[in-house]
């Protein structure tokens, strides 16, 4: 259980998160949405111990995350960042780096178990055939999958992702989110994910968190949050909301400025 209590966070004099209260239970699939600059990524950075809160506290199973030893924290919480570094190493070497939190003191080589876990996470994400390829020669979608494989190699209970589908085509978007959904359901991995795409968020996430100007504007199910009035208020742009005929989930479409009159009629 992650509990966030009255957290205020920022960079320099600027306050980005302004009083956040939130609790996330184990096994959830939570999507964080909101306009640019609303504090989504900052919330992720606060929850993953990158940025210390100025006020309030963040507890993981009742313990302040800043008191948990760093290695211990990394064994429970894994993060897939927005941009995966294109480092000159092979896919397999990259995934094996995910085992670093599990290294014992003075351990020099990976153990058989480290290799097994890396192997399994490459298999789950479908990047096993890429194992010998260089990271800087992969496509954006492949690199994202490899980054997820590395995070899984940490064997975390909590997985944070910052826009895992940015810059990907729809086939890759669906492939990655299907994979995440399956991980969430089959191995009870808790997922907290920042998404820009409201439709993907509505389609996949069991619960949504809509942020605006450093505060939580609304939390609830996709149907509750992806409401025309709420979205238009927060994003400040006219939208049309409908239902996906196949999945019965809500979708949000932007409405160009010239076409607004039609709706008024």
């Amino acid at each position: 259980m992650f509990s966030v209590k009255g957290v205020v966070c920022g960079y320099g004099p600027k306050v980005v998160l302004d009083g956040i209260d939130l609790s996330v239970a184990q096994g959830e699939f939570l999507g964080v949405i909101g306009p640019n600059g609303s504090g989504k990524t900052t919330l992720l950075r606060a929850l993953t111990r990158v940025l210390a809160p100025r006020q309030g506290e963040i507890l993981l199973n009742g313990e302040n995350i800043w008191r948990v030893p760093l290695k211990n924290f990394a064994r429970r919480v894994a993060v897939v960042s927005q941009t995966v570094p294109a480092v000159p190493m092979t896919v397999e070497e990259f995934v094996l780096l995910g085992r670093i939190p599990h290294y014992r003191d003075l351990q020099f080589l990976e153990t058989g178990r480290d290799a097994e876990v890396a192997e399994r996470s490459m298999r789950m994400t479908g990047v096993k055939e890429l194992r010998g390829r260089w990271m800087d020669q992969l496509s954006g979608g492949e690199r994202q999958l490899v980054a997820i494989a590395r995070a899984l190699a940490q064997e975390p209970e909590w997985l944070f992702l910052d826009e895992p589908t940015a810059h990907l085509d729809i086939a890759h978007q669906v492939r990655i989110l299907d994979l995440l959904l399956e991980l969430n359901q089959s191995s009870n991995l808790t997922l907290i994910m920042v998404l820009h795409d409201l439709n993907l968020a509505g389609e996949y996430c069991r619960r949504l968190l809509l942020m605006q100007k450093g505060r939580i504007h609304k939390k609830g199910s996709a149907e509750e949050v992806l409401d025309r009035g709420i979205i238009e208020e927060v994003y400040g742009t006219p939208v049309a909301v409908g239902k996906n005929p196949l999945s019965a989930r809500p979708f949000v479409l932007p409405v160009p400025a010239g076409k607004q009159t039609e709706r008024k009629k």
Binding site: L70, R75, P85, V87, I100, P101, L106, L109
Partner: protein, 336 residues
């Protein structure tokens, strides 16, 4: 998988070990008075002997050991800095620490302190380097966060200031001091004091050992600071410790041997290409290769115009620089 990787690493270690032995034997045999191969082992084994014995034991062996120590130290410092800064152009002399050492040494020559004791020049160099480490740290560590970008920029600027100061000292100094400063700046493995050689050797081996405690941290830092943090690496502590370790390595080697350029830039690059980016093999491979490269260059430097000697920095620069350009511009050699 894992086993083959470890096997490959062992292979590189054997190969570099063999090359090191070859470079060492070459350095002992080759010189103004050649010593035949058959005789070298006899000379090394017997405790006393004639002129060949004293050439090997008093001149060539100390120089060989110093070559390995300095070459290894510079190259190790280079590989750590390039890894930590994620910047292939950083080298031991980028951070301004060598500039501090150079100012210290030239001051000691200018003020006549260098005539007091054989240790005063290296000591002045080391103190200059330490002063610079403290200054750089103070300037760039704010609220327990060490800014690498700031470190790089201030380091480069401080080097400019240091070289201007040295030019000022050169302009002010008398001609015999002038030569002393210039020779020191050019760098040389000609170090008559046995104790200093031992210090350099012990320090560089000790630091090689210590850096192995950071092998997985360095591997994680290759992904960036935030990614390393997510892998449970205490990034700020690691950066600070590695900065101090590399600074001391640079300080010791510059204080004892002056500014021998190019080893710390070129050797880590080559080793990354050959043995890969994993610091578990890269650290020791760079250390060995740096030693081999410097000993090899020094052997050339003292024989091409014998009985005169070229500054070893001339050879490392010409040889290392042209090798580097060749590898970079070779077909398919794009990524570093």
């Amino acid at each position: 998988m894992i086993q083959p990787r470890a096997k490959q690493w062992l292979f590189w270690l054997w190969l570099l070990g063999a090359l090191a032995l070859l470079a060492a034997v070459g350095a002992l045999l080759i010189g103004p008075s050649g010593i035949p191969l058959g005789k070298i082992f006899q000379v090394l084994w017997n405790r006393q002997g004639g002129i060949e014995h004293s050439i090997v034991w008093n001149i060539r062996l100390p120089r060989l050991l110093l070559g390995f120590a300095i070459g290894g130290a510079l190259s190790l410092a280079g590989v750590i800095l390039q890894g930590m800064f994620r910047n292939p152009l950083v080298e031991p002399y980028t951070l301004g620490i060598s500039g501090g050492a150079a100012v210290g040494v030239s001051l000691s020559i200018l003020l006549g302190l260098s005539r007091l004791s054989i240790f005063s020049m290296p000591l002045a160099g080391f103190l200059g380097a330490c002063a610079m480490i403290l200054l750089l740290y103070r300037l760039n560590a704010k609220k327990k966060v060490l800014s690498l970008q700031g470190l790089l920029l201030t380091g480069v600027m401080i080097n400019f200031i240091a070289s201007s100061l040295i030019m000022l000292f050169l302009a002010l100094s008398r001609s015999e001091d002038l030569q002393g400063i210039i020779f020191w700046i050019m760098g040389s493995l000609d170090e008559p004091n046995g104790l200093l050689i031992k210090i350099a050797l012990v320090a560089s081996l000790l630091f090689l050992f210590i850096t192995y405690f950071f092998h997985s941290d360095l591997n994680a830092l290759a992904l960036g600071e935030e990614e390393a943090l997510h892998l449970g690496v205490p990034v700020e502590r690691t950066k600070g410790l590695l900065f101090v370790i590399t600074s001391l390595l640079i300080g010791v080697s510059v204080a004892v041997a002056g500014m021998i350029g190019f080893v710390g830039l070129v050797v880590p690059h080559f080793m990354r290409r050959i043995v890969g980016h994993d610091h578990r093999i890269l650290l020791v491979a760079s250390f060995l290769a740096g030693g081999i490269f410097l000993v090899f260059c020094d052997t050339i430097a003292r024989t091409v115009i014998a009985p005169l000697e070229l500054p070893v920095g001339v050879i490392t620069g010409i040889l290392g620089g042209s090798l580097f350009v060749w590898v970079l511009t070779r077909k398919g050699g794009g990524t570093v």
